[in-house]
């Protein structure tokens, strides 16, 4: 076993014969005047692609150190031994709009059509931690997601849905401790024991500064609050994933697949280090971390990205951060099909794009998946478009056969080569961030923001200059048919939703013990000044019927608000 890593997958003799054969083949191709339709082929991350791949491209590769078996280090092929043969991925559609009642109805609709996990989309006021009666919430209540400013709203979302039977993702960041408290309080009220409360809070504070931009506090206190939530969940909620370290928004903001991967891992490293700094043994919490990536129509590049991601994280955890347990080295991740790759023109073409993106996620070994609806570039999904999105997953899982063996693309010369190349390029970015002193410093210097801005601009120029083809947009454009023009869209009566939510929060504020409510907020502020873990104080404020905006307001008194440097 000692020199197992020095054994090459392909023997020397074969490689030598092949080298001659490939040279011969290249000559033959030239002699027969085969020409490519483009001068150079690139993946979207800019990696040049060869005509064909052979064992020569992976000749140095050692099977065990680079690929291995599923369920074993370095987990390139998957974190579980039998992957989807045991259980297919969780079908988790990100949804939520309007009032909590609207969202409760949509959740029941999705569950009745075979969805296996819930995921709450919040509206902008909730995402940035303000109440619906705040003047800045004007025009935004219930529009991009559901309005949840109080524990009562959470109770309505889960009316007649037993929270012990479902797991729920909450895409929420700076206010994550507040929304988790709403969730836990609601589950406890339903009689669900703490060890049955399952789900995920996105709670990835760093990527808010890099990409998603629903930041509230400056980076240091944001990280502190996020890590408070991790600490508290590890102790109190054995089935909760306290963080979903997210590349999705980074990709959507314009990063290449390589940059998405590198920046996400660099964020992950920062969270682990912060937990270690607080005195936690890495193996006591690392198994609870989860990740979130985008998948794109460029199927192979994304499959290679997912495979590289697992291998790199396993290495980071084992070799850099000292993890001993296998579970600590697992990269468990959720995937969402890329929204920016979908088009507003000829929207039905998006159904096909989503199939490709979803396939990339499944071939890449995702643990759960959200497929976008075809009307994504126009509005939030209707029941109809949401149903097609869910059916896409079900057809992949149960009809296509792609879930019947583990890592079916493993061993493809191209995929293995591309996995290596993506890994190599991603390490360069991670090394650069390390040399800047870690992610917080890099963010303050604007490095990841600059990378993304640059790539977004290059991608757009590539479309303009026809180096990147988008069917219906810059090639095969057509006059829209009536059916394409009249796509039925979900309409939200924001005025009505806002009035209802304002009325509800007013009644909610009247129905509380003012003395207890006030002291719970004062205690929270004091705890923040003493730099204690804030989760118990936030939970206590929630129980004493403080609203989202009030709790976030108390924290802003202590931490202030982030003001973003402009990077063009």
């Amino acid at each position: 076993m000692s020199n197992i890593s020095s054994i090459k997958t392909y023997n020397k003799e074969l490689i030598e014969i092949l080298r001659t054969a490939v040279e011969e083949w290249e000559r033959e191709m030239r002699e027969n005047n085969y020409r490519d339709r483009k001068d150079v082929f690139y993946t979207e991350s800019g990696i040049p692609i060869k005509t064909v791949y052979t064992p020569l491209d992976v000749e140095d590769q050692n099977y065990f150190s680079k690929i291995g078996m599923p369920g074993q280090y370095p987990f390139t092929r998957g974190i579980h031994y039998n992957m989807y043969r045991g259980r297919v991925w969780t079908m988790r559609e990100f949804s939520g709009y309007g009032t909590p009642e609207d969202t409760n109805r949509r959740f029941k609709y999705l569950i009745s059509h075979g969805e296996t996990g819930l995921s709450i989309a919040f509206d902008y006021p909730t995402l940035v931690g303000i109440d619906p009666d705040d003047p800045r919430a004007y025009g935004e209540v219930g529009v991009v997601g559901v309005s949840v400013p109080t524990v009562l709203d959470m109770e309505i979302i889960f009316k007649d849905i037993y929270m012990g039977d479902v797991t729920t993702n909450m895409t929420i960041n700076p206010p994550a401790p507040v929304l988790l408290s709403f969730y836990v309080a609601t589950a406890r009220k339903q009689g669900v024991p703490d060890d049955k409360i399952g789900g995920t809070t996105q709670n990835d504070q760093l990527k808010e500064f890099i990409a998603q931009k629903s930041w509230v506090f400056p980076p240091q206190p944001a990280l502190k609050i996020g890590v408070d939530l991790i600490e508290w969940s590890v102790k109190n909620l054995p089935k909760w994933n306290p963080i979903s370290i997210s590349g999705y928004h980074i990709y959507e903001a314009g990063a290449t697949a390589v940059e998405e991967l590198a920046l996400t891992l660099a964020d992950g490293i920062e969270y682990v280090r912060e937990m270690i700094r607080r005195g936690h043994d890495v193996d006591s919490f690392a198994g609870r971390l989860s990740f979130f990536f985008a998948s794109g129509v460029q199927v192979f590049e994304h499959v290679a990205k997912f495979r590289a991601a697992r291998r790199m994280w396993a290495k980071i955890m084992k070799e850099w951060l000292g993890a001993k347990k296998k579970r600590s080295m697992w990269m468990r991740f959720h995937t969402q099909t890329s929204g920016v790759e979908l088009t507003a023109v000829e929207p039905y073409n998006n159904i096909i794009r989503v199939v490709l993106q979803a396939m990339a996620a499944v071939l890449g070994g995702t643990q759960s998946l959200h497929t976008n609806a075809f009307d994504e570039a126009l509005a939030l999904p209707t029941d109809f478009s949401a149903k097609i999105a869910l059916r896409t997953q079900q057809i992949l899982a149960y009809e296509s056969g792609i879930a019947d063996t583990v890592d079916p693309l493993g061993g493809s010369y191209y995929i293995e080569w591309l996995t290596d190349r993506i890994e190599e390029e991603a390490w360069k970015i991670i090394d650069k961030i390390e040399s800047m002193g870690g992610m917080i410093n890099a963010i303050e210097k604007g490095y990841p923001q600059m990378l993304i801005t640059e790539s977004a601009y290059r991608k757009q120029r590539a479309i303009e200059e026809l180096r990147k083809i988008v069917v219906g947009v810059n090639m095969f454009q057509s006059e829209p048919l009536e059916e394409e023009k009249r796509v039925p869209l979900l309409k939200i009566d924001e005025e009505k939703v806002r009035q209802q939510q304002i009325e509800r929060i007013r009644r909610f504020r009247q129905d509380r013990d003012p003395a207890k409510w006030r002291s719970s907020l004062i205690e929270l502020e004091r705890a923040a000044m003493r730099n204690e873990n804030l989760m118990p104080y936030i939970y206590n404020a929630v129980i004493n019927r403080a609203t989202l905006g009030e709790i976030m307001g108390a924290l802003k008194n202590v931490y202030g608000e982030w003001s973003e440097p402009i990077i063009l």
Binding site: Y138, G139, E140, A253, T343, A377, L378, E564
Partner: protein, 158 residues
């Protein structure tokens, strides 16, 4: 970041030519603003940069701008055009407020264009209210540059 360099050089050369030609006259000024709580700044930044590369003087406000903030910036900067980006669905509530404030402050001559996820029906309504152009997703940058230039010229003439 390492997408092919070759074509970039070509692009840069062609852009530089445009810049030189443009600087012969007084440069047009555009405010690119993210209105409301929306954090999706990719489109706004790409458009801001494309306009800048095409010779416009561009002021990008950053995210979370209120209608008041946008209008004040536009007046202070004596902008020719305001480009508003919204992917949050709040356009029907917030864009009319910008138009109203501009009129109230005697700056109704500043042209307003809107980009983002604006459904076709809403685009029509916004134009009726006084928005000069709506650029839905997939609009080519070259088209945006052309339209913004025309609008800026129109304002200077009036």
């Amino acid at each position: 970041m390492y997408i092919q360099e070759q074509t970039d050089v070509e692009t840069r050369i062609s852009l530089e030519k445009e810049v030189v030609a443009e600087e012969m006259r007084r440069r047009y000024k555009v405010i690119v603003a993210k209105l409301g709580l929306d954090g999706h700044d990719r489109g706004a930044k790409v458009v801001a940069r494309a306009l800048r590369d095409a010779g416009f003087e561009v002021v990008y406000t950053g995210i979370r701008q209120t209608p008041e903030m946008v209008v004040n910036t536009a007046i202070q900067e004596d902008a020719d055009v305001i480009g508003i980006s919204l992917l949050s669905g709040a356009h029907m509530a917030l864009v009319p407020m910008v138009l109203k404030l501009l009129r109230e402050k005697g700056a109704g001559d500043i042209k307003v264009v809107v980009g983002g996820t604006i459904p076709p029906d809403d685009a029509e309504k916004l134009k009726e209210m006084g928005v000069a152009e709506v650029f839905p997703p997939d609009t080519p940058l070259s088209y945006i540059i052309k339209k913004v230039r025309e609008l800026a010229e129109e304002r200077r003439r009036s």
